[in-house]
Symmetry: C2
Subunit: 373 residues, 2 copies
């Protein structure tokens, strides 16, 4: 279990990439120091703050003022950035705004919102004038522990999610834990699903911590929240540093639960489940495959299910049949030559991948999770 005490003045992690190293700052009230942190890493020019409409105006204003206090001429654009707005049309709106403001190569974009915002603003930063600096300020738990770190940016096409994008590493990532207090409980749980995923695939210690304090964490109560987020950030940073472009065998592990998770989102047209909820169900299928492939015992499958349920995350799926889901997995970006690379558990905090899972094993694991199939 986690028992160290980080200093809030230390970054949670440093991510090392071909586009440069960057720090992830994690603390309550971190947004207040965004300006000096940006100066520290040498960002000059103006700041173009792009924030999700659903953010409380007070938080956007705090960020705006914090940037101006450090001497940044700051311009803000507020957009509705739900999943259905994560597309080329919204990116074009941002481009047009930047063009009107005559934003230059030395200016900086600051993305403030959930994963849709950090994905979209990161993509715009990757492509505006062939690339300008970006600072990410994730405000959802899912974006903090996952989307904002590692430089994966993207927008959706009508035909599929995240098909258009770029690897664009931020210059700085700022996690203000205070922002989480404004999140609906369901969205928080979906964020925890990604952190639980990291524990399951890579960190037995973190898994124990989740099991010992599930209800406190789900309620954001106590000091442990920051500690767990820091650990989660460390895990993500380590993986990204080792395998920046997902060409090796490290980064792909983060897709545990995502092959079926993405398929569930596609089949339900992104209207039923939050991403983390779909991943929760997907993890149950992946654990089932792992057990049937002889990699783990039934006990670990049950342990995973019990933990997800304590976070009120879904662990089964009603009204969708196996064929539809399997068909939907075929467009998975990680497939190569048509064969899906499954991420599987091989113990608590240990994982592996396989391209050699027979269709009947996938179907059997799906059968365990699909209700009324």
């Amino acid at each position: 279990m986690l028992n160290y005490r980080p200093s809030v003045n230390e970054p949670a992690a440093t991510v090392r990439t071909s586009q440069g190293d960057y720090r992830v700052i994690v603390s309550r009230g971190a947004i207040e120091s965004i300006g000096p942190e940006m100066r520290e890493v040498g960002i000059g020019g103006r700041a173009f703050l792009i924030a999700d409409y659903s953010m409380f105006p007070l938080l956007v204003r705090r960020a705006h003022e914090a940037l101006e206090r450090a001497g940044y001429e700051t311009h803000a654009l507020i957009l509705e950035l739900g999943e259905s707005a994560k597309n080329i049309e919204t990116a074009t709106k941002v481009y047009e705004w930047l063009a009107e403001q005559r934003a230059e190569r030395t200016d900086c974009l600051v993305g403030m919102g959930g994963g849709v915002t950090t994905d979209l603003v990161g993509f715009v930063a990757a492509t505006w004038l062939r690339g300008v600096p970006v600072v990410q300020v994730p405000t959802s738990l899912a974006a903090m522990v996952d989307a904002s770190i590692g430089g994966k940016t993207a927008v959706n096409l009508p035909i599929g999610k995240n098909l258009v994008g770029a690897f664009k590493q931020p210059r700085l990532v700022v996690h203000d834990i205070d922002f989480l207090d404004t999140l609906p409980r369901r969205e928080l749980a979906a964020g925890w699903a990604e952190a639980i995923k990291q524990a399951l695939i890579l960190d037995d210690d973190l898994l124990d911590t989740f099991e010992a304090h599930a209800e406190d964490l789900a309620a954001l109560s106590g000091e442990l929240v920051e500690l767990v987020i820091r650990r989660s950030v460390e895990i993500k940073a380590k993986i990204v540093s080792a395998d920046e472009f997902e060409t090796g065998n490290d980064r792909v592990l983060l897709n545990y639960g995502h092959t079926i998770g993405h398929a569930i989102e596609a089949v339900t047209e992104y209207g039923t489940y939050l991403h983390g909820e779909a991943v929760s169900i997907g993890m149950m299928v992946a654990a089932g495959i792992s057990r049937r492939a002889g990699l783990i015992s039934e006990e670990l499958v049950d342990r995973q299910r019990a933990l997800l349920e304590r976070f009120e995350l879904p662990v089964s799926l009603r009204g969708v049949d196996a064929d539809t889901l399997i068909e939907a997995t075929a467009s998975d970006k990680k497939s190569r030559g048509g064969k899906i690379r499954w991420v599987l558990l091989r113990g608590p905090g240990r994982s592996t991948t396989s391209r050699e899972i027979p269709d009947r094993v996938v179907r059997a694991a799906l059968h365990d999770v699909l209700v009324g199939d």
Copy 2:
């Protein structure tokens, strides 16, 4: 003057970049060996050939067959790729085609056409699934000596050219000199303008060669054409290798004539001058500034004018006033903090930059070139 004899089996140049090194193959009939060359650099998967509609179908078929001979499953998309089609909508059409074909990360795009095509296909390759390999087959002279090498890719917004893009280095560039035989003379001359620019800023020797053989080169007659293109490719490759992201002082030199050239294109709404023609006029303004700044003599300005005229390139501009052009330069991507970085000559084959050119000097140089202003 150029007098070496390269072997056609040797690449003209190798470009060294952070995204990997790549070769530029230059010869008559080079397209026939595109397949083995792609195998040589380790490209697997399928080939997605994206070609400009204005290409002769025979040439596209030759490329298609050459790819298939090397065992690449090849799919072709023919698009109208004029400057007005170099936009996000056309990129989206290509994305949708790739999605329908289920193009994967290990598959390769092959762009075949002029600079618009290589820019657009490069941008799509930079952003499809966060980046897939791309091979460039430029078919215009301008694209051969300039656009296809160096990884600058982009699309236009209604509000400005090349505002959205990425640095995306190709895996291989194939120049088939035979393709040039199909080009209109005016388009050829516009291509030579970029090569003459390279000679003026960096290569006294190449400048002498242009002066000794202007009419032969303009008519594509003789062996020297290939030699000059090779030298031009070498110059471009050397600059790009030294300053991949245009953050140093090398690559910006290639913008000689482009500040006013871009302004002329914008003011005339891209309907009057080919890019190289606008650059030709822009070079006359830049040479005038260089002379007025005391960097070069009147003689070099005259020498430049005489050479451009032998290629039937425009050296003056009618019906546009200085204020309009100066206003149009303000959105130049290379400006920083509002100040334009002028690329200037300081001798034949030698150049420099300056941000400190007084407005009156620019106006005086414009006055020399504007007719009826």
